[in-house]
Assembly symmetry: C2
């Protein structure tokens, strides 16, 4: 990479085309290339903003992860915070730092992955910053849109509310285990790696739930159910009771690479504490739970427990044994 | 730093108080702490967005720069892109990566510097992300506000327009030279270091110019006049003629530290190519130049040249010698 201007040009060539699925009442008055981007708001909706960093050596390894996955996931995981509010993703700003020695092919694949995520999520790049850096760093700010007053917070859960989780938990950790065991680029492991390398973000589900005002609280599970449920309960000033046998959990394949056979992969532990599933965790007042049946993704939802007034989080085992569920999910520190 | 939650708590304790100078028609519906922030727009104004990264080893050195300066400048330089559009700064999102071994006192001073910048700029933190990292990384997204259609772009300069620059150029580079020569924390060098460590951002000037629709094009000088004027001319499809003797340039102190005496510090070269002055560069149609006299900061403005149809940028020396002005400012690569 010779000059910043060349990198910017490349990024905009790969990512700069306007997403066709953007039918936002927010108009982009000025896109990338000037000092800043300009958005013309619509008074019919609110703007939802979040940011997320993906760093080499912390969130990914260049030796392990395909560059297209790093590009895809950097944007997808940022967009998951929008899904967690029930917002529709619209725009993003990309800050990227790359070593001077980085190969052009790596950057092409990285941008290709991000382009695919942007297309799937309906997002358009509106700005960013580029710099040299000793390791690859990616920092993304995402902007979404939601009807006035519809954003779903973490703080609304009340005792008696039912706790729901979308999808299957622990699959992203299984994919990570496969990737770390050296299979990150093995095409035969595609199904197992997919949830870790190219996670699906629950945009449509989050948006459906918010529009119908069904949940009392919602967030995404990015750092593991145990950690994220703790956060939701703390924000709401409540506790929870979770039934272990209800949790839809990852299935461990019977044939495992030698490195993984030695590790004891426990599906329940992976479902409780594994990070990066990007599923939605939400609470529903009992009287509203009937409305969930109309959800197009109803079959992917699992009722895993209920909110309690006592501020502890309890895990009830199959045999009825009760233990405290401690936050043991992902923490970068 | 033991846990991410402790770092987040510290950041919000230091930066989280709402700025008192925020009298925006944009209402913050939901601040930091949830999955995302929510803004309620006003249909009377547009939203201006930009982002900027400050990395250890690229933009600052921990051994050279006081932590409060790193915090101050990370936010100030991002806000300069808002000034460059004529927008009023309102909100920011802060992504920060710090080594596990970072001392708490360093972080306190860093956040103290950022808090001071936020207060001076009238900005409120609305979100962010924290992570561990081998070196300190700071990535900031800033949001500003401007009346509909008033944002000043780089692309509007036309042949015959006059070229203005605010302030004195090259002072930030002189400060950098002092800092690199080992004086970064020397209280006797405060005046010389100030423009490098705690740059003043031209918010009021940018806003005044945009409201009166005086400039045809505007940007901030972050990478040096030669580089940034080239960008403005490229965006506008024009060239320029700049008069060397007109450029208000840094004064080199008579007594210099030994390390600096050996370097030949040329005020004109520093003014032309030195980065980080964060002054405004703008072009004004001749018929509108009279309106500039009413500017409260008129005395800080210098007419340095004019826009030409020929797409070259020429520097006219005191003796009338004409040479091409090549973009030789800062490039991170």
């Amino acid at each position: 990479m010779k000059q910043e201007s060349q990198l910017v040009e490349k990024i905009l060539r790969r990512l700069g085309s306007k997403s066709s699925s953007s039918f936002s009442p927010w108009r982009l008055s000025l896109g990338p290339g000037d000092d800043a981007a300009v958005l013309s708001p619509s008074s019919r909706s609110e703007l939802v903003l979040s940011c997320d960093a993906s760093l080499e050596g912390v969130h990914f390894r260049r030796a392990t992860h395909p560059p297209s996955s790093i590009g895809y996931k950097s944007l997808a995981r940022a967009a998951s915070d929008l899904a967690a509010m029930g917002a529709a993703p619209r725009y993003y700003l990309l800050t990227v730092g790359v070593p001077n020695t980085l190969k052009a092919a790596w950057l092409d694949e990285f941008l290709g992955g991000m382009r695919r995520a942007a297309r799937e999520l309906g997002m358009t790049i509106i700005g960013g910053d580029t710099t040299t850096s000793s390791q690859v760093i990616v920092s993304i700010t995402v902007l979404g849109e939601i009807g006035h007053g519809l954003a779903l917070r973490r703080s609304g859960a009340r005792p008696g509310d039912l706790i729901y989780v979308s999808g299957t938990l622990g699959e992203a950790q299984l994919g990570l285990e496969f990737a770390l065991a050296g299979g990150g680029r093995d095409p035969r492991l595609r199904a197992e790696l997919q949830p870790h390398l190219y996670p699906t973000i629950r945009i449509a589900l989050g948006s459906w739930l918010a529009r119908r005002r069904i949940p009392s609280a919602m967030m995404d599970i990015s750092d593991g159910l145990s950690t994220d449920l703790t956060r939701l309960c703390q924000a709401s000033g409540v506790g929870a009771r979770v039934y272990a046998d209800r949790i839809r959990r990852v299935r461990i394949p019977t044939s495992l690479p030698p490195k993984l056979r030695r590790r004891k992969l426990d599906p329940l532990q992976m479902a409780l504490h594994g990070g990066e599933d990007y599923e939605l965790l939400f609470t529903v007042p009992k009287k509203k739970s009937g409305g969930l049946k109309k959800c197009p993704e109803f079959s992917s939802l699992t009722l895993v427990g209920e909110i309690t007034a006592a501020k502890t989080i309890l895990l009830i085992s199959n045999a009825g044994r009760v233990e405290k569920l401690k936050p043991r999910g992902w923490d970068p520190f």
